[in-house]
């Protein structure tokens, strides 16, 4: 692929081509018989609309010229251009630049502030900081400050990591690679909230990407030996004398088989087999002293089973193929899967040795994928919504005003922060009356950014910390500056004279702001005027049709199209579009309306 070098030329050439050849009204309904049919789509059924559907699901949408290019291929070639992505050079993608927030004294990181304090009391130092000499006020304060520094600094690095990934989704020449990585991130959900070490999340992200379309066994082994996952599911605590079932349970319930296909005893036996699977900071470690080498009976198999045996036994179950293939289907094709399709995809997935790539190829080529119940029936995830909008706008950088993480987080999805071990539930759960309004509002903020009023979340303190800072600046001492309210909870805070927790929170923030790279802030460079002039849209009707064509996956009802047409006509005072100082702003208002429709939520 030489997409990058051709881009400037294509922008000019292809806009007009597609605008002329594919009017917005040219939606063709697929035949009823395609539903549930896994046979490949024939070349004669391939068109712009289906290419748009393909790149929407197997990637993050595309500009009209990119879609036209896919539409000009055969369906096999188009799907191959997404699935066989290793052949595409991605070396131009920028690496993540770490701030370097970690120093050796911080490993291994204590599970809580209380534990950090206990260790510091016992050893005279903690987290790389020395306890102050006896008789000093707040002797443990440096350790507590450092603890809170670590939390804040890791939060900021994780925000930066999320932005780095979002940029990768936006500009990658291998969109399916990122879409699959995002899928696996939700499947093998791991969150910074609990892990509190961005390095583990970054490492896991690379592991998921490297195995995203490989085989399931490698992926399972990768994730079960992944330090982030081991910490997230507390497997460091899974020891011979006290097996901790969390890891075994989630492996069976969420990663491979689904509830109802194993017994509670299987969970406990799996937990025993994974005893001693732990991590030494960023490396997997097998602690044989804590491993239970005894006999176990798991899913009917008995022996001195270890973790690898458990994985093999799970992979021998037909339900595993169906569970994982079914989840991929629900993510890429549609929510409801028929039992026939599930059985067939599961069977072929298992028969292939759990190769993900052929499964993806088959699903994305199937008539079922292009049938009416599959097309434009999926509610875009928040990350998909924002990234795909930027892609369709033709942006080459994720704007940072408004903040990407805040945008998607407000809609219920923060990268590296899934809600729980089950990942994001997706589908209709993305939508509430409040998030639906926000889904539109976000793009008003993108097109009319509040640069002056913007407060960067990577330099924001909580209300409590801000108050502490203000009071210290007024000359109060630490005790006075950190006093709050009169609820029972407050009366119990900071009785320990060795340190002040609230002050630690404040001081930790300051240090974290100093030691992390600040996210450069810039609004989007959007040019809607160029978009519509490239499409030769010189009337209000043509402008509306072009934006609908460019951004929506379903046609708009005549009544709703008329609302948009009359809105723009009123703004311009004419049915003809002429250059003027306010044209861009009027077009942006119109685009805000298009992006706020119920239709735009569908991908």
């Amino acid at each position: 692929m030489t997409r990058e070098s051709l881009r400037p030329l294509l922008v000019v050439l292809l806009f007009s081509v597609c605008a002329l050849t594919v009017p917005a009204s040219a939606w063709v309904d697929p035949p009823d018989g395609w539903k549930g049919d896994l046979a490949p789509l024939s070349a004669s059924d391939w068109n712009y609309q289906r290419a748009a559907h393909l790149i929407e699901r197997a990637g993050f949408g595309a500009t009209p010229e990119e879609i036209s290019r896919l539409a000009a291929m055969t369906p096999e070639r188009a799907v191959a251009s997404l699935v066989d992505y290793e052949a595409i050079d991605a070396s131009a993608l920028k690496p993540f630049e770490e701030s370097g927030i970690w120093d050796p004294g911080m490993d291994p990181f204590p599970p809580s502030r209380a534990e950090a304090v206990r260790r510091a009391r016992a050893h005279g130092e903690g987290l790389g900081e020395k306890v102050l000499p006896p008789g000093t006020q707040r002797r443990l304060q440096p350790v507590v400050d450092k603890f809170f520094y670590s939390l804040t600094a890791n939060n900021i690095e994780t925000q930066r990591l999320g932005l780095w990934w979002a940029n990768r989704m936006l500009v990658t020449p291998r969109p399916l690679e990122e879409k699959l990585t995002l899928f696996w991130h939700g499947h093998f959900a791991t969150g910074q909230n609990k892990v509190r070490d961005y390095r583990m999340l970054f490492q896991q992200n690379r592991m998921l990407r490297a195995n995203a379309s490989g085989d399931l066994r490698a992926l399972l082994v990768g994730i079960l030996k992944d330090p982030g996952m081991l910490v997230y599911l507390d497997n460091g605590e899974n020891i011979k004398s006290h097996p901790n079932e969390n890891f075994g349970r989630e492996l069976l319930e969420l990663f491979t088989m689904g509830v109802g296909n194993y017994s509670e005893r299987d969970v406990r036996e799996a937990a025993r087999a994974f005893t001693g699977w732990t991590n030494d900071v960023l490396a997997y470690k097998f602690d044989s002293a804590e491993h239970d080498f005894g006999n176990k009976t798991f899913l009917g198999r008995t022996g001195a089973l270890n973790g690898d045996d458990i994985i093999d036994t799970i992979l021998a179950q037909p339900v595993t193929g169906e569970f994982v293939a079914g989840k991929l289907y629900r993510y890429f094709v549609r929510e409801d899967i028929s039992s026939d399709v599930k059985a067939e995809l599961g069977r072929s997935f298992r028969a292939s040795g759990y190769q993900i790539k052929p499964l993806m190829r088959r699903m994305l080529l199937s008539k079922d994928f292009y049938s009416a119940p599959s097309v434009a029936t999926q509610i875009k995830s928040p990350v998909h919504l924002v990234v795909s909008t930027y892609r369709k706008m033709g942006l080459r950088d994720v704007p940072t005003i408004p903040d990407f993480g805040r945008m998607t987080g407000g809609l219920g999805q923060t990268l590296f922060e899934p809600p729980n071990v089950a990942g994001w539930a997706g589908g209709r759960t993305w939508i509430t009356p409040a998030t639906l309004l926000q889904r539109g509002n976000l793009f008003r903020d993108v097109m009319f950014p509040d640069v002056k009023g913007f407060r960067p979340p990577d330099r924001a303190m909580s209300a409590t910390d801000t108050r502490v800072g203000e009071r210290l600046a007024q000359g109060m001492n630490i005790t006075e500056a950190t006093r709050e309210g009169d609820a029972e909870s407050n009366k119990m805070v900071d009785r320990d004279e060795d340190y002040n927790t609230r002050y630690g929170g404040y001081a930790g923030n300051l240090l974290a702001f100093k030691r992390t790279k600040q996210i450069p802030r810039q609004p989007a460079s959007i040019d809607v005027t160029a978009m519509i002039s490239g499409a030769h849209a010189d009337t209000v009707d043509k402008v509306v049709d072009h934006l609908v064509h460019r951004f929506l996956s379903v046609p708009l009802a005549d009544k709703d199209r008329a609302v948009l047409v009359s809105f723009l006509r009123d703004k311009l005072g004419s049915s003809t579009v002429r250059p003027s100082e306010t044209l861009e702003s009027s077009l942006r208002e119109l685009l805000y309306l298009v992006l706020s429709t119920p239709e735009y939520q569908l991908g």
Partner: protein, 400 residues
Amino acid sequence: MYGLGLSAGLPFILNQTSAALAAQALQGTSIEKHPNRILVVIELSGGNDGLNTVVPFGDAEYYKARPKLGIPEREVIKVADGFGFHPSMVGFERLFKDGSLAVVHGCGYDHPSLSHFSSMGFWHTGVPNGGESLGWLGRVADETLDASQRNLIVNLGTSQSLAVRSRTHSPLVFDDPARFRRDGTDAEKQALAELSETRTTSNATLDFLASTAHNAAESSDFVRRASSAYRTPVDYGQGGGLAGNLQRVAALIAAEMPTRLYYVTYQGNNFDTHVQQADLHSRLLMYTADAVRGFIDDVKRLGRGDDVALMIFTEFGRRVEENGSLGTDHGTATPMFIVGKSVKGGFYGKAPSLTDLDDGNLKMTTDFRRVYATMTDEWLGCSQTPAILKGQFETFKVFA
């Protein structure tokens, strides 16, 4: 009427409501025996450790099973013979002494699941080990409340809980009221109102989106104004999420929102305390007790104390024996709480045995649907309770 109402500018909801309520009262729909009553449900997600919440300090087995995590008897807030609250639950102590807090022992269901998602689903639907797709509160609304009225169910949280999923009602779900609005100029808002009309197409997802957009447009102004105008002298404590959400409920009650069912979640899987449980659990319980105590005080201040009852649940308790990581693993039976001025405080049901266990887990003594039935039948007055809960469940006489 109740002091802090925001009726100005919101007549459409209020007029409709009073008229509809009056009409239903005349028809004698059972729930309208008490047309002003409100049920607030709080979900403690993650599986709250019931044994360290309502501590059986009188039972030596408790200390045997919890050598490191057991709450020492001298620290327990003793409120009954052999039972007391975790020391951080000063707020519950106050409520209990006021006679406003009922503890129901040993709540659970047969063949318990130890999976968060399965078990929470069973509690949400009120159908353990079944495949019900609607929530129990959604079914309460379906059976007893007029579907033409909006906003009878409010769910404070980032996403809609299965508990409120209803066939005929569209619950209002929001997190931050300040952001619950449509931005833009008047012309943009006008156009968007027209673009948000409900649709009937062959695409069910699209119809769902349009209907949600329509509801959002109607309700957002009301909620936002009610919340931003609300001022209360009552201290709800520092418990971030829960305190804030309960204060939002109070704001809506003060603004005379017609809502009868409020559902409030504790964000995240907070109560899932596998590791280093003591400090975290203590903090969570303190936040919960402070926030609930604050909320009850606040609705009393609003003159609505007699109209509000609150029920607290979690998807399961923790295993009796502590684990090797100073935490506890997933368990089964666990206490529930009913709180309110109309509640006859005290202990209900029978505490599970700490020795007669099912594979290390407590055997439940109270089917949790008995507590649900108590709330729907005794509190809300639904004669359709057996249909809603798909069975007959004996209620507790908790309400005066």
